[in-house]
């Protein structure tokens, strides 16, 4: 089911949680709402799910205005950050809940409920936990049960609010791959909120980058990483070095105040000047982290560090150590005028 959002606004007192949001989500897509922690992303999710009301703007499902429909009539599955499982019910009863509260005419009989619940529990690979209570499960198991519960009512749209936010790193990675596979099987239009860029880039078909209640960029994971539309996206997704035009005019090639954004892996290091724009620097620190080697350098007479990432192979070909004098030059970068930069949050 496609979702259309037009000029949506939501404020809490003077605080603008959502500022004129326009977004088109195609049927069957898996979308990540990515941004720093704050109320914007979750607010948007709750408004789509009918748990919150926008101050103005339009929300359409498959072209149909759903503003008048409350949460129970939207047929939306909602997965909460802290699972929100019914603590006094077994896992089985949690998943069966959506079926049991249906109006009498639509309610499946007991045998059918049993079949459906076990089918869903098998789907999330936790059928063996059917008789346990939520308090007896691990975080990852609880979240999978919460997902099974949301899927029980066969929702047209699945909304996940920081679904892996409360889990530890290993379980997170496992679960997000599993979510991706599940989505490829079920093709339910899904939106998940996250502040973890890696999670968004790995799982989503498209990423919506949000900051301070506004959408900064919408695109495939590749697009937002390779072609950030704004300085914020540049800084929020991946690491970046900033070069001011005042000091590095040879790179920014701008007359006014401007800043060049350069990814750490887009910088060449050489023992001799590559050309007349090369910057002489001193190697301060070398750290090997798995397959990449992170080198921190500082320009002569400057306290500012520049971060560079090299592949292990390239580093092994020309090893560096602290105190080496070398030259650097960006292979590719993007220049934003400083007027734009002033909107950046303190990063």
């Amino acid at each position: 089911m496609s979702i259309t959002i037009e000029n949506l606004n939501k404020h809490f007192g003077a605080y603008k949680a959502l500022d004129n949001i326009n977004l088109e989500i195609n049927s069957g897509e898996l979308i990540a709402l990515l941004g720093p922690s704050g109320r914007g992303k979750t607010s948007l999710l709750r408004i789509i799910g009918g748990l919150d009301v926008a101050n103005s703007g339009k929300l359409l499902f498959q072209g149909e205005d759903v503003e008048q429909r409350d949460a129970r009539e939207r047929n939306v599955g909602f997965v909460f950050q802290h699972y929100a499982l019914f603590r006094h019910m077994t896992v089985f009863e949690n998943v069966a809940f959506g079926l049991r509260v249906k109006p009498k005419k639509q309610r499946p009989n007991e045998a059918e409920i049993k079949r459906r619940v076990h089918e869903l529990l098998n789907l999330v690979q936790l059928d063996w936990l059917a008789d346990r209570y939520p308090a007896q499960l691990s975080g990852g198991q609880r979240q999978r049960i919460a997902l099974a519960r949301a899927l029980a009512v066969e929702p047209n749209i699945l909304l996940l609010d920081e679904p892996f936010g409360a889990l530890d790193a290993q379980v997170r990675k496992e679960l997000r791959r599993w979510l991706r596979r599940l989505h490829d099987e079920l093709h339910i239009t899904s939106i998940f909120v996250t502040h973890d860029q890696e999670e968004a880039l790995e799982v989503a078909d498209r990423v919506v980058v949000m900051n301070k209640g506004r959408i900064e960029q919408v695109g495939t994971p590749d697009e937002v990483y390779a072609n950030p539309a704004t300085p914020f996206v540049y800084q929020f997704i991946g690491n970046v070095n900033l070069f001011h035009s005042r000091e590095h005019a040879m790179w920014t090639k701008q007359h006014g105040d401007a800043v060049a954004y350069v990814r750490p892996h887009d910088i060449d290091i050489s023992a001799t000047p590559q050309d007349d724009t090369a910057l002489p620097v001193e190697v301060k620190l070398v750290r090997a982290i798995g397959s990449v080697v992170r080198v921190e350098v500082a320009a002569d007479g400057s306290g500012e560090f520049i971060e560079i990432e090299l592949s292990r192979e390239r580093f092994d070909a020309t090893p560096l150590s602290g105190g080496d004098k070398v030259f650097i030059r960006p292979r590719q970068f993007r220049v934003f005028e400083t007027g734009v930069k002033s909107e950046l949050p303190a990063a």
Binding site: F78, F80, F86, R87, H88, V101, R149
Partner: protein, 283 residues
């Protein structure tokens, strides 16, 4: 590691003499202020034998006082049950204008003297009160009658259940209710299937306390009752009348019933707590 744990045991344990002293002080205090009076009540009640005890309770005025006490508790507790759940639900799960005012109002009966609570009803519904003439014209009698006693009891026991539930419901948040609604449950279904089961132990606890206070209330009821024997006397009021008449045996007999009620309440309360802890749910 083992060294470390030995250290810890030592640092959190007082010496034997200090332990003994503290326990003695605490026990003496308990016996003196709680144990002795409780014993005295039963001792005095039964001093002249079971027969007299039995006769004192079966005396018509005493029997009518017992019935009136049970009746007012039977009305006040369910009334405050409904109100308590409704108020706690509203306060814990929603943000609205006047929320903090409502919380303050719920605490009012705790804050004012019960005598004042009773006087308010006399001023409102008494013969010289605001609504007195109207009530008289329609031949409705509230003050110095059973309805007044019930009203005063409801007022005094107003906060018990709500106060018990508000922090519990606030701690539980409203995510489970939101989950239920997004799964298609109606408001009633959400209440019966999600909210109520989550608060059942706290609710039971509140009901027990509310009931104990409803049966034991003296001040507010004393003001509105008018002390008409066999008509508007509750058990606590009856005890006072008997005592003032130097009828000690009968006074202590009725008082022992109230004390027994308190003991039963404490027993039930402990059982509820035990059961709640076993089921792993917070109280």
């Amino acid at each position: 590691m083992s060294n470390h744990s030995i250290q810890r045991i030592i640092s959190t344990h007082e010496s034997r003499s200090v332990t003994l002293l503290l326990i003695t002080v605490a026990l003496t205090y308990l016996v003196l202020f709680l144990g002795v009076p409780l014993f005295a009540v039963f001792y005095e009640a039964l001093r002249k034998g079971w027969l007299l005890y039995w006769a004192a309770l079966r005396e018509p005025d005493a029997w009518s006082a017992i019935k009136l006490t049970l009746l007012s508790a039977a009305i006040a507790v369910p009334a405050n049950l409904v109100f308590g759940i409704a108020a706690a639900w509203a306060i814990a799960k929603f943000e609205f204008r006047g929320r903090s005012l409502l919380i303050t109002l719920i605490d009012l009966p705790f804050a004012v003297s019960p005598v004042v609570s009773g006087l308010v009803y006399v001023l409102l519904f008494g013969a010289q009160g605001w609504f007195g003439p109207w009530l008289q014209a329609h031949d409705i009698k509230l003050i110095f009658a059973v309805p007044g006693i019930v009203l005063a009891t409801i007022f005094v026991t107003f906060p018990f259940i709500a106060r018990e539930l508000i922090p519990l419901m606030q701690a539980q948040g409203k995510e489970e209710e939101e989950a239920a609604i997004s799964l298609g449950a109606s408001g009633w279904q959400t209440f019966w299937r999600v909210t109520l089961p989550n608060i059942k132990w706290g609710l039971l606890y509140g009901v027990i306390l509310c009931n104990a206070r409803a049966m034991g209330e003296f001040g507010a009821v004393s003001v509105v009752s008018g002390h008409i024997r066999g008509m508007t006397n509750t058990m606590p009021l009856h005890v006072e009348i008997l005592y003032n008449e130097y009828n000690f045996a009968a006074a202590f007999a009725v008082a022992s019933l109230l004390a027994l009620l308190a003991l039963v309440t404490l027993l039930v309360k402990s059982l509820v707590e035990l059961q709640a802890r076993r089921s792993g749910e917070p109280l």
